[in-house]
Symmetry: none
Subunit: 221 residues, 2 copies
DNA sequence: CCGGAACTGTCAGCGGACTGTCAGGTTCGA
DNA sequence: TCGAACCTGACAGTCCGCTGACAGTTCCGG
């Protein structure tokens, strides 16, 4: 899960970035407004945390331009300006959620979780596919109630697939969400990762759609 | 758009109800906790506005029971209890959004709009022609409910034909759509492909218009 | 500071799936 | 009836994904 953190305050950015990173997300930080717009417009992010007070381009304008261009990723807006009508303006500009400063890191994390959940069409912090359950709060995976230990990267892979359960996810899409930088199409890292997760789970919840990608679904399907 | 308003405070309920009604939603109000749970569990609502402090059953419990039962409608939680960890708890219990009292009616409306907007954006696209159904999300094809496994190229062909169902599609058009570069009219690759898809489907949904091309349509036509 | 363990990407090889080609048969329409 | 268009089965080269092994890196306890 790649998250774009658009924040110009160094201290906040560091704290939030660290927390998001510890929560298992790939965080990319950007302080300049125009650059933020460009990255959101072209990059592949699971969500964007957007501070309204950015240099070179206003946060609301950025958001409106994204939405006007049809970008639908969830956006969590941060702002010190806490009057209600500005909040309404932010939400109607296309923000999916709103968090006034100052805030607790825990609350930001919860809201980001909620955004990702909602974007995936899930309503609970528990994702379940077949006999596999993934708890996004505790970052824990269980198969038939038995806990399974996954490495960070393995967890991210499974998490992404289960967030999009029932949908075919291409290797390219996985690559873009699992790795912050460039994409080399030579690598079979994803395939190796899928193999490792499959072995650890011991259950067949990751189906291969040859030529298309992978999909989390019930073993029978 | 029916919205369930679960609120026991008469004044708030009246104000919010009026505002939602004026905004064009059908509002159903309910003050009793257990009754709210039952209505949410059995009724068809586009969204639910849920106050946490209800009599006979706690709002968080209601929410958790809905989510545990797989109900996915968007829920906007209202509460007077504003400490951050209770907010986190509410969000992780499956709330899609959270609004602390006191709030402005305009902000509540904006958040409801945002919830409905997001909930609408996740429908699965199903193409159907005769007894053949193509799910673009799962990239899966079913005939009379039975899943059929198609290769990538076969899937692309069928997908293109079904996207243009009822229209004759020339071989040239298919070739240009299925193959990246050159087109040699020497090849009968398309014909072979069509044959394979037909055999796998077992149903006659691809008609040949001799000299013109192919067309996806009901067997009778 | 060191040694080991865990993590993760790379590589080579294997097996099966995919797909275009071709030859020969069939069908359709003028 | 004739020829072009289309269908079909067989086949082979290629591609794709899986696996085991390995090495660079990081992390952690001693």
């Amino acid at each position: 899960m790649r998250i774009l953190l658009a924040e110009d305050d160094d201290r906040i950015a560091r704290d939030v970035g660290a927390a998001l990173g510890a929560a298992g997300y790939i965080v990319e930080r950007e302080a300049d407004g125009e650059e933020v717009w460009f990255k959101g417009d072209t990059g592949e992010y699971a969500a964007i945390v957007l501070d309204l007070g950015l240099p070179t381009m206003d946060g609301l304008s950025i958001l409106k331009r994204w939405r006007a261009a049809g970008r639908t990723f969830p956006v969590l807006v941060l702002t010190a300006r806490g009057t209600w009508n500005e909040r309404v303006e932010g939400i109607d500009a296309g923000a999916d959620d709103y968090l006034p400063k100052p805030f607790r890191i825990e609350e930001l994390l919860a809201r980001v979780r909620a955004l990702l959940r909602r974007a995936a069409g899930q309503a609970s912090a528990l994702l379940q596919v077949g006999s596999v359950t993934l708890d996004t709060r505790q970052m824990q995976v269980t198969v038939n109630g038995v806990s399974v230990s996954l490495s960070p990267q393995e967890y991210r892979l499974l998490s992404y697939l289960m967030h999009h359960a029932g949908r075919v996810v291409s290797q390219l899409e996985l690559t873009e969400h699992l790795y912050s930088q460039d994409i080399e199409r030579e690598s079979n890292a994803i395939e190796v990762l899928v193999g490792r997760v499959r072995r650890k789970l011991g259950v067949d919840v990751i189906a291969t759609r040859r030529g298309f990608g992978y999909m989390a679904c019930e073993p029978g399907a």
